[in-house]
């Protein structure tokens, strides 16, 4: 860390190990959601290809390689 800096009012909580673990779990959950939209073909959603087909156009328009 370089020199001392003072910036505005407190806008985020202090980063504790506990916060880091919570953040890790949250990010993993968020990545699981993006996986469901972008790549899953039924293995995780257990819906067969239904969800995959339902979100097909979104995948193309969000820039994800589809088919």
């Amino acid at each position: 860390m370089p020199k001392a800096t003072t910036v505005g009012p407190l806008s985020t909580p202090a980063v504790s190990p506990r916060l880091l673990w919570t953040a890790l779990v949250v990010v993993a959950l968020m990545l699981l959601i993006t996986y469901l939209v972008a790549f899953d073909q039924g293995a995780v959603s257990r819906s067969g290809m239904y969800l995959h087909e339902l979100m097909h156009d979104g995948r193309h328009l969000l820039g994800v390689p589809c088919h």
Partner: protein, 260 residues
């Protein structure tokens, strides 16, 4: 509470909630954009795809065994578009709020709004614009199903490279003392990662010669627009929602001072 009196900093939960809400708003607006400008192109591409497969079928004189009902109708997929962009937006909002929570104190700006917007801008550059140039998105009827695994891996790799490039720009910038040298260092750091990444990853060009180029590019523009709407609205909405976590200005609290 070793800090001064007055209301404490917002919790991670409060910030996360704002990120998820901003994400839902961004996802629905991106969906609306995609529905308006993207769906007509997807329809046109699917018409080409179906004409091609009908032709292939006629050539081999197959009977209509393949004409089974699709799992989801086209109208269903157009509704599903909003589910896809909505879920995607919520997830991106959660990740943005988490990044903000963990990185806010390292961003050297007194403005929360600026901090939130620069994180969203960095993400737009790293996971949209850099991937877009290397692997422009394709409509249905473009792309070889046999290479989908390779293309997926390459796409994930370019997302990582995009984020590393943005990070490299920030690190390089902070090594320099003066403003113009900081700007130059940021550009160099960014370009080195992008050029190396582009060179290492395989090229993909699977657009059939018969596919109309204007349809291809209007689809790609609609896709780019969808993603720009997503990240722009996400950044702005998150920044706006952050203001509701702020305490009255009469109680100025200071960040803890860190010393090397």
């Amino acid at each position: 509470m070793s800090l001064s009196e007055g209301s404490p900093a917002p919790t991670y939960g409060a910030l996360l909630l704002r990120g998820l809400i901003a994400g839902l708003i961004a996802g629905l607006l991106a969906g609306l954009f995609a529905f308006t400008f993207g769906e007509p192109k997807v329809d046109a591409a699917i018409a080409i795809e179906e004409a091609a497969s009908a032709q292939a079928q006629a050539a081999t004189e197959q009977t209509s065994a393949a004409e089974e009902e699709p799992l989801v109708s086209r109208d269903g997929q157009k509704g599903g578009l909003f589910l896809a962009t909505g879920l995607y937006g919520i997830a991106l909002g959660g990740i943005l709020a988490t990044a903000y929570t963990l990185l806010r104190r390292r961003l050297r700006t007194p403005s929360d709004t600026r901090a939130a917007l620069s994180l969203a801008g960095a993400a737009l550059l790293g996971v949209v614009l850099i991937p877009y140039v290397k692997y422009p998105p394709n409509p249905p009827a473009v792309g070889d199903p046999d290479t989908i695994n390779q293309r997926t891996i390459s796409y994930l790799a370019i997302l990582v490279i995009g984020l590393v490039a943005v990070w490299a720009a920030v690190v390089a910038k902070r090594t320099q003392p003066t403003e113009w040298r900081q700007a130059a260092a940021a550009v160099v750091g960014f370009l080195v990662v992008v050029v190396v990444g582009y060179a290492l990853l395989p090229n993909v060009n699977e657009v059939p010669e018969t596919f109309p180029p204007d349809l291809l590019w209007s689809f790609r523009l609609a896709s780019l627009g969808t993603q720009v709407v997503m990240w722009t609205v996400l950044g702005v909405a998150f920044a706006a929602l952050l203001s509701s976590t702020r305490r009255p200005a009469s109680q100025p609290e200071r960040q803890p001072v860190t010393t090397a």
